[in-house]
């Protein structure tokens, strides 16, 4: 990989200052994605600013019952935290279904948010990729695209966002707190990621000087009845073909509250707003679930090898909602 300078920051201000001293510095968390990208030549930073030593390595309960998760907290620590497991089980499940134990120990929350697609053509420097090289084309569109997205894609890019944790966080309406040279701001999860559109190389709203400091998860009483289900080609250590994070509340057979998000199928962590609207206030039956899922997938655009994801996603959504609402309906 291209040589880079390295510096370890002690706090956010230092991190931001250090980064500003280089033309193309990147913040370095656990390195589980970034080191690989630099080694492949996909990212070519002139400096890595290590932010694993920042004091945002804690998980704190907020006064309203929500959680604040520091960006430097390792994935494993989030998954094992008593309050995460108890209040947002889908988040714990999502994290432990991703990667491997070793990677989860290293990866930070901030790094997980910033991880990039694993599209084969994004990874092959000899392939045409509008993310790596705007305007060069997208070899995935007529290539091997079984792992690619069917929602939120464009004619320039059909890459899927690979994170499991992010699917749960978008279902939970988390907000991402960042700090930069112009100060702090908080960004709703669903607004953090750009769809590829004509500019697939622009993936988030983060400015070059901005550092993620924490993720805040609002209280959500019924989220203690939540699940993350991941469907993949082998039983573990594989990216999702389709994944679903869902939480639901029922009263007298009617859906009173619901959160639904999809992974493996979309260009960004996908909050299923259409499905949620189709579910809310209706009877909690398989028919309702299926119709809502179909409504969400109605805008799906299949590529040559991933059309099966439409039916698979529909069934998985339906299955997950059934599992949440029918006692004893185990997988």
């Amino acid at each position: 990989m291209k040589p880079f300078a390295y510096a370890k920051a002690v706090d956010a201000a230092t991190a931001i200052t250090l980064r500003s001293q280089f033309a193309t510095a990147r913040f370095l968390g656990g390195g589980t994605n970034l080191v690989d990208l630099v080694r492949q030549g996909i990212e070519r930073p002139d400096a890595l600013v290590d932010v694993t030593g920042l004091p945002n390595d804690r998980i704190d309960e907020l006064a309203d019952g929500g959680l604040s998760v520091g960006a430097a907290v390792r994935n494993t620590a989030v998954a094992k935290h008593r309050l995460v497991r108890g209040r947002y089980p889908a988040l714990a499940q999502a994290i432990v279904s991703g990667a491997s134990g070793q990677i989860r120990n290293m990866a930070t929350v901030g790094g997980n948010l910033m991880q990039r697609t694993r599209c084969d053509y994004f990874y092959d420097m000899a392939a045409n990729c509008n993310k790596r090289h705007p305007g060069s084309g997208c070899d995935a569109i007529d290539g091997f695209n079984r792992m690619h997205a069917i929602l939120g894609t464009s004619e320039r890019c059909i890459a899927a966002h690979p994170s499991d944790m992010c699917v749960a966080l978008t279902a939970l309406d988390a907000t991402i707190h960042v700090e930069g040279t112009r100060g702090e701001r908080s960004i709703p999860f669903d607004a953090f990621y750009h769809l590829p559109g004509d500019t697939p190389h622009i993936e988030t709203v983060l400015q070059p000087d901005e550092l993620i400091t924490s993720v805040q998860i609002p209280p959500l009483g019924f989220a203690n009845n939540s699940i993350y289900r991941k469907v993949r080609d082998r039983s573990s250590y594989a990216f999702a073909l389709v994944s679903v994070a869902a939480a639901i509340a029922i009263a007298d057979g009617t859906i009173t509250a619901v959160r639904l998000a999809l992974g493996g199928v979309a260009a960004k962590p996908w909050r299923a707003h259409v499905a949620e609207r189709a579910l809310l206030g209706n009877a909690a039956t398989p028919e309702t679930f299926r119709r809502a899922a179909e409504a969400e997938l109605a805008s799906a655009r299949a590529a040559s090898h991933n059309g099966f994801k439409i039916e698979l996603a529909t069934r998985t959504i339906t299955g997950v909602l059934r599992e949440l609402t029918e006692p004893g309906d185990a997988r």
Partner: protein, 765 residues
């Protein structure tokens, strides 16, 4: 080249736990479960693999590989690369040493060992997407890798042949398939098929696969002051690589040494000689430093070939009573013309079923790809997928139990050669397996068994792999201190070479295991065949047998010359080896230990080297193979189509088992590779550029721990009277029949017959 590391682990010794070793003074090592003699080394990080020898002043190399499939390099821009920090040399065809092109692999000719006979970095020609076009040598790994990324290449492209489906109609029969005829016609199978009361006729498709041993190919090469070449490499063919390197560099055979003791998995991917070994040695020559080249995982996919794509047709005709009346099995595979390897997918039907009208034929189509090569049970793994799926389809159509169907058609002689079987007990393997697995509980009607969201099904298929033995040599030395050593240029890639050889040699010599050492992994030792075709153990055992006999004769001659020896008048057929020496069979107490014979003769040791030839007489007279019955159970999720293997039992007929512990592991390991083959593995070859799209372990899925149930293995342990010790090699048997067993189980679970691998959830939604 100076190696600063101790080479004491060349010698493997059995070191029993003194408190528990029951074998010290007894015979009967054959068939004992013995923990691997190299086990402690492996679990402590003490086993050195190719890239791990501490060589003084070593420099590091990185490859630059082509991004076009066919054409030529028009220009290099090396300015940035050469100026990068730490760079010593950049090698291209413009400055590489002149080297002969290697000759293609031929198991009977040790000097031919390449997977491809292309000249290596001698011309501007590019013949596949991924071909190395430059080598950068630098002081550190990171410097070499970075500088390689700075090499700019300009190509002139030609139109490559890349599409199997577009071009398969042009396929033609090869001149032979591993020395066997490409086509066999007995009777009129086409007519018999047309006349059959019941028939099936389908195409079966398998993708390209890659071996993906966890250790990437690696080489350390250095030239010595006397002009000789020393190479540490990761290879199954220690002797073969030495001869091929000598050939390529125009050196005398004794000027090349190849060391490969521990190999981190190979599965056929380290048998044929690949360009990386030569490029490392060549780079070392022009850099005038020892050079280490470890392939990246991506390089392994691009520079080393895997299993070819294949399309097979199996058509079977039968009478309603289940008697087969017609068998047609044809196959088309791909190969570039610099490999010319037609994978032998039609070998299983030549030996498996009794049928009077049979047509077997293979064709190959030339594509511009990396050389395809052997991958675990080449031919038989994909051939049994097609054949054993078709047999299951026919049995189902006939409403006959698939095991009963096979019994009806079990041959008494080899159906194509007419030879006797040296040892075949497949029916018995089925009987034992069916009982143990609970086959009678299976319901023949698909979709009959369910557990919540999971459909359950069971399937069975036959395993078949030939029992091969190749020429090998061994040297045996018995010393005056009562110990012995056995030497052979063998390698260890997981089969437990040293353990098996020490067990067998100890048995032959009548010595306890801890008095026998095995030296291996170095081409200066007596030649071994490649550890391919599951042949290494048995081939060396045969050579050791001959060498031990020769050494015993020498010792007896010494004893005969000593009037006071209890063996003074003994002839060779009057003694056997036990209790650390030679003893008369008629007067069991009369004999002498090796130590006493040698000490009395005033000699420090007696030694002999022996070589064995191809067992041609045997091959002409017998059909020798291992067989098995693979039973599997799958669970298929009704919602998602996810398929998981929940139970497995392999019941094998594979000769006498030398070491149950290691044999069971090998059989299991191959079955697991069969699970991968059936359910998840696939090399994605992008035909637009002829480039592999998924060259990583993240994008190419091999089975993980959770994918694999407790695999039960049973075997009948019936010796093959025609083989040394009655034993067969078992490294590849386990993958044969495995994919078909899974496909058959999936059919039983879902009613869906999938004939294209891998079977993925989208096939079953």
């Amino acid at each position: 080249m100076k190696v600063t590391q101790s080479s004491s682990e060349t010698t493997a010794r059995y070191a029993p736990d003194p408190a528990t070793d029951p074998l010290r003074h007894t015979h009967g090592y054959i068939g004992k479960s013995v923990s691997r003699v190299d086990g402690v080394l492996k679990v402590t990080g003490g086993a050195h693999f190719a890239a791990e020898f501490d060589v003084e002043h070593v420099a590091y190399a990185a490859l630059v590989c082509s991004t076009i499939a066919k054409g030529r390099v028009v220009a290099f821009d090396l300015s940035e690369a050469k100026a990068a920090p730490g760079v010593l040399v950049v090698m291209t065809h413009e400055n590489a040493p002149t080297m002969n092109a290697p000759s293609l692999v031929n198991m009977e000719k040790p000097k031919s060992f390449a997977a491809s006979n292309l000249p290596i970095m001698q011309t501007a020609a590019v013949r596949w997407n991924g071909q190395p076009v430059a080598v950068v040598v630098a002081e550190t790994l990171d410097q070499a890798g970075y500088a390689a990324s700075l090499v700019r290449v300009t190509y002139d492209e030609e139109t490559p042949r890349l599409s199997f489906d577009d071009l398969k109609a042009e396929a033609t029969p090869p001149t032979d398939v591993l020395g066997e005829p490409a086509e066999i016609t007995i009777g009129d199978a086409h007519q018999a098929l047309a006349d059959a009361e019941v028939s099936v006729d389908a195409l079966y498709r398998t993708p390209p696969y890659n071996h993906n041993a966890i250790e990437p190919h690696a080489t350390i090469a250095g030239w010595n002051d006397d002009g000789s070449l020393t190479v540490f490499d990761s290879t199954q063919a220690v002797s073969g690589y030495r001869y091929t390197l000598a050939d390529v560099f125009g050196l005398a055979d004794d000027k090349v040494q190849v060391v490969a003791r521990f190999v981190g998995g190979a599965f056929g991917g380290k048998t044929g000689f690949w360009q990386n070994t030569v490029l490392c040695a060549a780079a070392s020559k022009i850099a005038n430093r020892p050079v280490k080249l470890t392939l990246s995982r991506q390089d392994v996919f691009r520079v080393v070939g895997g299993r070819t794509v294949a399309e097979q047709r199996v058509a079977l005709g039968a009478r309603r009573d289940g008697t087969l009346t017609a068998l047609i099995h044809t196959g088309t595979t791909a190969t570039p013309d610099h490999a010319r390897y037609a994978e032998q997918c039609t070998f299983p039907p030549r030996h498996m079923y009794a049928v009077k009208d049979l047509f077997i034929g293979q064709r190959v189509v030339n594509l511009d790809t990396v050389a395809n090569t052997w991958m675990r049970a080449p031919g038989e793994s994909i051939g049994t997928f097609a054949l054993e799926s078709a047999i299951d389809e026919l049995a189902h159509t006939l409403k006959i139990d698939p095991i009963a169907f096979r019994r009806i058609n079990e041959p008494t002689k080899d159906p194509t050669s007419g030879n006797e079987f040296s040892s075949r007990h497949l029916n018995e393997a089925y009987d034992r397996g069916a009982a143990q697995f609970g086959w009678h509980r299976r319901q023949a009607e698909p979709r009959s068994q369910r557990d919540g969201r999971w459909l359950i099904g069971q399937g069975v298929a036959s395993a078949y792999y030939p029992a091969l033995r190749f020429p090998g040599s061994a040297r045996v030395r018995i010393s005056a201190d009562g110990t012995a050593s056995v030497q052979a240029a063998a390698n260890e890639m997981g089969m437990g070479t040293a353990t098996a050889q020490i067990q067998c040699a100890a048995e032959r010599l009548g010595l306890p295991m801890d008095k026998v050492a095995f030296q291996y992994g170095d081409s200066r030792l007596p030649d071994s065949p490649t550890a391919g075709g599951s042949c290494q153990t048995v081939s060396i055992v045969a050579a050791v047998h001959a060498a031990v006999e020769a050494v015993h004769r020498k010792l007896l001659t010494l004893a005969n010359a000593d009037d006071t020896s209890p063996l003074a008048h003994a002839t060779f057929d009057q003694v056997d080896a036990r209790a650390g020496g030679l003893f008369r069979t008629d007067y069991p107490n009369r004999g002498a230990t090796y130590a006493s014979i040698l000490q009395r003769a005033g000699q420090e040791y007696a030694e002999a080297e022996a070589s064995t030839a191809m067992p041609l007489e045997l091959m002409m007279k017998y059909s020798a193979a291992s067989y098995g019955a693979q039973f599997c159970e799958v669970r298929v999720n009704v919602e998602s189509g996810e398929t998981r293997v929940s139970r497995w039992l392999g019941s094998f007929d594979c000769g006498r088992v030398v070491n149950p512990k290691t044999v069971v592991s090998q059989l299991r390991g191959a079955i697991i590779m069969g699970i991968g083959m059936a359910l998840m593995e696939e090399t994605l070859f992008d035909e637009r550029k002829g480039r592999i799209a998924n060259p990583s372990l993240a994008a190419y899925h091999v089975p993980v721990n959770l994918d694999v149930p407790r695999i039960e293995i049973i075997y009948n342990d019936i010796p093959d009277p025609q083989m040394p010790l009655g034993a067969h090699g078992v490294g590849e048997l386990g993958i044969t029949g495995a994919a078909a067993a899974i496909a058959n189980a999936v059919f039983n679970a879902t009613g869906k017959r999938i004939r294209r691998l891998p079977i993925t959830l989208d096939d079953l939604l």
